[in-house]
């Protein structure tokens, strides 16, 4: 192989490479956006994933227990009549209601009974709710919800 020919080939290759580098450099001026876009997208995905998807809210109104003026700081409360009372308790990991019809019934049965009540009779009635310490709040709200649909007023005792 001719050494002169080889050198010429090498020179032309080097020139071509240099030319390409120059072209690349001229085309890519300014900061490299790729890492920033990467980080930004990761942050965006994090916020989207951690966002709580919550539905619309509303509220149920309830009277708080009234304190008897003559009471000796004990937890006895007086409520105006007419009043229906519902004492919630847990039995066998289920919520029962006592005092609603003089028997202890599952909460679902009581909710059905409230739903079946004549609205003209239930309208304006006060449902006094009392619950044991271990009764979950959701059970109390479900009973309150049923009472509200029957146009009852709810008060905690």
């Amino acid at each position: 192989m001719n050494p002169l020919q080889s050198k010429t080939d090498t020179d032309s290759k080097s020139r071509a490479l240099n030319q390409r580098n120059v072209l690349t450099r001229t085309a890519r001026f300014g900061p490299n956006m790729t890492p920033m876009v990467d980080v930004t997208l990761v942050i965006l995905i994090f916020f989207m994933a951690s966002a709580t998807i919550a539905g619309p809210e509303w509220f149920l109104r309830a009277d708080l227990p009234e304190i008897e003026e003559q009471s000796d700081q004990s937890s006895t409360f007086a409520l105006p009549t007419p009043i229906l009372s519902a004492d919630l308790l847990i039995r066998d990991n289920q919520v029962f209601v006592n005092g609603f019809g003089n028997e202890t019934l599952p909460i679902e049965t009581v909710i059905q009974r409230i739903a079946a009540m004549d609205p003209t009779l239930s309208n304006g009635l006060i449902l006094g709710i009392r619950a044991k310490d271990d009764v979950p709040y959701s059970a109390i709200v479900s009973l309150h919800d049923a009472a509200s649909r029957a146009k009852m007023r709810v008060a905690f005792r």
Binding site: W58, R61, A62, L64, I67, S75, D145, F156
Partner: protein, 138 residues
Amino acid sequence: MRNRSIISSNGAGARINVTPMIDVVMVLIVFYLLVGQLALDRKASITIPGSSSGLEEQQTLDPIIVGITSDGILSINGVTLDQSLFIPEIENMHARSPGTPIRLRADRDAPFGVIRPIMHAMRDANIPRVELVTEQRR
């Protein structure tokens, strides 16, 4: 004339113009940051119960939001505070603006033993009624 193509024709190698994408992504990030700040009290630590009846928002006054987690951690308007500080704080707030509605955002799994003392404390502060916040379930 300004180049409107998403592919830049400057230089030898054509490449995607990322500026509009960054604009949109930045706007989305700012949106999520703001929503996250505004909805601090609606964080996942409190899962409110659902109800098929309820009253829609009508008042113009900003309500006082009392939060109770399933562990009994208390907060007023998103600020966590100890139970001993709760009573004077709620009394002060109610005394400053007696007409302000008080909303109870309690976790659906919170036992009533955690909620009852708060209700009694509010009653002691001469608050006659409370609004129980629920999620609309139709």
